[in-house]
Every structure is written in structure tokens, then in C-alpha cells.
């Protein structure tokens, strides 16, 4: 099966510091692929390159058969990649509903139809009952779900989630995991996520990539990867594997 997203030898330097060091991997359609690693390993930089925030210095990124490296963020979204931000960025004075409508408007010019799609997504993310609330009044878990809902409303084929579990309590983490698994199962949505919360990674991911100092040090099924000595040493620590 050809990969939906193919990262091929992508590298990025910031004034002498190698943030991403010739990373290559592929994400199959319908997969949930996790990128893990210590802080500063280059995970968010990699994300930002895929999302179009800055171009790679070297390498290629192919999505659905076409090259997307060098495209601007709005163009990347139009190609079918949605993303969330590590520090959530809701539209604060707008309602939850309006936030999602703005996402839905990408492929639906009529606000009335966009609103219908927004309602669908709000149901999926369990936010329908709060749709008239102002986004700035939401709690953090709700804001995280809003961020996902908004990106989802753009009908992406691939969803990039940047530490979407950060700051959530275990119960809320499980809730988010359940929602994401349901979306993946029912709609075939491909997900690429950065995560530190191993509980979520083990539950969600079909495949894991480990980054360290910008380079890939392990890739494979979650159970196998977390046992690799290099991974244990650089990131997880011996206790985590027990």
C-alpha cells in the first residue's frame, strides 16, 4: 500500500543547530502514527515542516502522491492536512459553533451548509451542547476538543495532532483517545500525532517513530519500539517499560 504521507530525508537547521536530521518514514492511509521522543528532539519542528510553517532545508514530503514541501500552511490545509497546535489557539471571542463553522467553510461556501457540517463534528467531539459558548470560557479539555473539531471540519485526509493530550487528566485523556479511535475506525481518518503521554500512545498508535536530537532512532510497532535499548536509554527510562 502506498503511504498517504511520505517523509523522505527531511532535514532542517536553525543557525547551526540541526533540528531535524534526515528523517524518513511513511504513514499508511488509515493508520495512527505516533512520533515520540524527549523535548527538543525535533518533533514539533517536523510537524511544522509538514504543515507548511517553514520549508525543509533538504528532502521531500509527498502527500497523496503529490509533493507538498514548500507549500504555505493554508495551501497544505487545502490539500487535505489538518493540524492542531501544541498551545491551543481558539478564536477566543467567537462561539464554539462559529469556530468550527470557520473550519467547515473551507469546502462549503454556504455558511448554512457549513453549520450543518459543524454540528456533525461537534457531536463527534462531544461539544454540541456547548456550541453557543464563547470559546474563551471553555476549560482546557474542551478547548483541546474544540481544536480537533475545528481541524476536522476542514475534511482532512490526514490529521496532525501536536501533544493534544498535554495537560489532560487521565479520565480526559481516555475520553480523547476514545474519540480519536472512533474517528479512525468509522471514517478511516489517518492520524499523525506527537505525544509524551505514553498511555495514549500505546492505546492509539499502530506504529511509532522515536526522534532524538533530530534523528530517527527507532520505528515500528509500539510494543517493540518501547523495548528497544536506545529508546529506553534516551527517553523512557527503565521503569516505563515494566
Amino acid at each position: 500500500m502506498t503511504a498517504l504521507l511520505a517523509i523522505d530525508g527531511v532535514g532542517k537547521r536553525f543557525r547551526g543547530l540541526t533540528a531535524v536530521d534526515k528523517v524518513s518514514f511513511g504513514v499508511e492511509p488509515g493508520a495512527i502514527f505516533a512520533v515520540i521522543g524527549p523535548n527538543g528532539a525535533g518533533k514539533t519542528t517536523l510537524f511544522n515542516i509538514v504543515a507548511g510553517v517553514f520549508p525543509p532545508d533538504q528532502g521531500a514530503i509527498t502527500f497523496a502522491g503529490k509533493r507538498i514541501d514548500g507549500l504555505k500552511p493554508d495551501a497544505v490545509c487545502r490539500r487535505g492536512i489538518g493540524r492542531t497546535f501544541q498551545l491551543v489557539r481558539p478564536f477566543p471571542t467567537l462561539t464554539v459553533e462559529d469556530n468550527v463553522i470557520i473550519g467547515a467553510l473551507l469546502h462549503r461556501g454556504d455558511p448554512v451548509i457549513a453549520r450543518q457540517r459543524a454540528h456533525e463534528v461537534l457531536w463527534q467531539l462531544d461539544l454540541f451542547n456547548k456550541r453557543q459558548q464563547q470559546a474563551s470560557t471553555l476549560t482546557l479539555p474542551d478547548r483541546k476538543r474544540l481544536e480537533v473539531a475545528r481541524a476536522l471540519a476542514t475534511d482532512p485526509k490526514l490529521l496532525l495532532l501536536d501533544e493534544v493530550m498535554a495537560g489532560l487528566r487521565p479520565a480526559e485523556t481516555d475520553r480523547m483517545v476514545a474519540i480519536l479511535m472512533k474517528l479512525n475506525r468509522e471514517t478511516g481518518l489517518t492520524i499523525l500525532l506527537i505525544e509524551h503521554v505514553m498511555r495514549a500512545v500505546m492505546a492509539l498508535a499502530s506504529r511509532v517513530l522515536v526522534l532524538h536530537h533530530g534523528a530517527a532512532i527507532a520505528e515500528g510497532a509500539p510494543d517493540a519500539v518501547v523495548r528497544e535499548p536506545a529508546v529506553v536509554e534516551s527517553y523512557l527510562g527503565a521503569e516505563a517499560v515494566e
Binding site: 504543515a51 504555505k72 500552511p73 493554508d74 490545509c77 487545502r78 489538518g82 493540524r83 497546535f85 489557539r89 481558539p90 478564536f91 477566543p92 471571542t93 467567537l94 462561539t95 462559529d98 463553522i101 470557520i102 473550519g103 467553510l105 473551507l106 461556501g109 454556504d110 455558511p111 448554512v112 457549513a114 475545528r150 481541524a151 476542514t154
Partner: protein, 334 residues
Amino acid sequence: MIDWLLEGVPRRGLVLLAGLLAVLIAAPWLANDYLITVLIIILYFAYTGQAWNVMMGFAGQLSLGHAIYVGIGGYAAAALYVHFGVGPWIGLPAAIAIAMICGAIIGFLAFRFGVGGVYFAILTIAFAEFARIGFDHFRWVGGSSGFFLPVANYARNDLWNLRGNPTMFYYVMLALTVAAFILCHALLKSRVGYYWQAIREDEVAARSLGINTFRYKMYAVVISAGMTSIAGVFFAFYYNNLFPEQVFHISRSIELILGPIIGGIGTLFGPIIGAFLLTGLSEMMQELLARLGFDVPGAKQVFYGVCLLLVVMVLPGGVWPWIARKLGLTGRQS
């Protein structure tokens, strides 16, 4: 169409609006000439404030040089009339087009090169100043000595050439203001309006949702410029003279933004309420001062400054949202 426009607007609000409109239409029969001229000024500021609001309140770009579009619209239409005998309604598209091009240039320079915030504001001031000095040297339209339109007798109303008594101008301005209001309401409820609000709230997040922020910011600037230039055409034919020193001066640009800021940036009614409050109160103040025997040039501006200061310190969202809450009128987006 009407349904969609009216959706989300509370019944009480519609009734009040209809009432206000009825009063305004009947005004020439109810009020004396002086009051009509005051109302013309109020509506003029409500209109230009609404046009400015499209850029600031909707798309979040602060323009402190908006008088440039008034001037361009006025001079374009006036030049066509004086030099070629072209009536204002025919000259209007030309005036709008030139203003839109000017707006597009400013917008392009600013957005393509990432000039935002305070730098953008300074850029707009500089452009307006550039126009002021430039037109001072522009002989073909009178230069610094001014440009004059032939004043016909006011016995008959000539709507085609916009020559007539104040009542005619009043209805023209009223029609423009109502049209602007409806246009802005429709824009806000459309995809463009939603995208503008997204850009205003968080441009980075907006881009991540596929919004071409450059294009939509350009729309805001160009539409705002075009709308404002129509007021310029009105200005030229109502006052019958244009001086670069006055038309392009920074105080005109500041005057223009007082209504929407005091009334409420980003709201539909803000500019209108702001214009009524500001002009109404300042006229009353001038009357009072005149009766007390003071003739103080600059007092009106100090008054405006104090109002602005109070609003921005105490009611930063503007007077209208506060009033709307009190009247129980909060709909979805008013």
C-alpha cells in the same frame, strides 16, 4: 434571502430598528434646516465609520489614514464633473475604482511584506500625508488653493448632478448609510465575514484552516476603500470645494474612526450609535459654549479626545455592546 439576513436578529431589535428608520425618513418634516444639516453630518460619520469598520472591526487592520479614500473619491468625481461635465453617478464607478486601486496598493505593500500592527498604522498615515502634499502640488485639480464645483441655484433639486437643497442630500446620505448597514450585515454572515473574523482573532490559526489570509485581508482593504470613496463623492458635491490640507489631513482620518471606536469596533450598530452620540453631544456642547459667549476653536476636538479616552479606558468594547446588554438585545452578531 431575507430569512437568512434576518436570522439571529432578535425581534425587539428589529422593531427598534424599524422605528428608528421611520423617524429618520420623516425627519425633514419634523425638523428644522439646522437639524437636518446636523443629521447629514451624523449620517456621514456613521457611513464612513461603517466603511472603516470593515477593515478594523472585521479584518483587524488598523488604518489611521482612511481620509485618503475620501479624498480620492471626492477629487476623482469632482475632476470628472468640472473638467468633463460627467455627472457624479457616472463618475462614481471611476472614483470607487481609483480608490480601490489605491487601497490594493497599500494592502499589497503591507501584507505581502508582512507589515502589520503599528507599522501598518504608520504606513497608512504616511500614505495619507503623501496624498495631502501630493495634491497640494496637483495643479489640474486646483492644488493647494482648492478645487471648486460650480454652485447651481438651489431652487430645484437635480439628483442626477447632485445639486440641490439639503433635504435632497439628506436622503442620499440616509440611503447610503442604510445600504452600507445592510451590506455589512450580509458580509458578516457570509463566508468572507467569518474568515475576516478568524483573521482578526488569530491569523496563524486561520491559515491552518486553509484560509488564504493575504487574499481576504486584501478584500477587506479594497471593499473598505471603495465604500469610503463613495462618501468622498458625496462630500465633494455637498460642500462644493476640496482643499488637500483639509480633505487628507490626519484629523479627518482620526474623526472618521471616533464613531466606530466609541460605538463599538466590529459591531454593526457601533459606528451609527457612535456617530449619533459624538456629533449630537458635540453640537449641544458648541451651542452651550456659544450661548455662554465662548468661541473656542479646538474645544470640540478636546471633547472628542476626552470621550475617546473615557471609552477606551472604561468601556473598551464600545458603548453599543453595553447598551445592547441593557436593552436585552444581544443577538448572535450585532
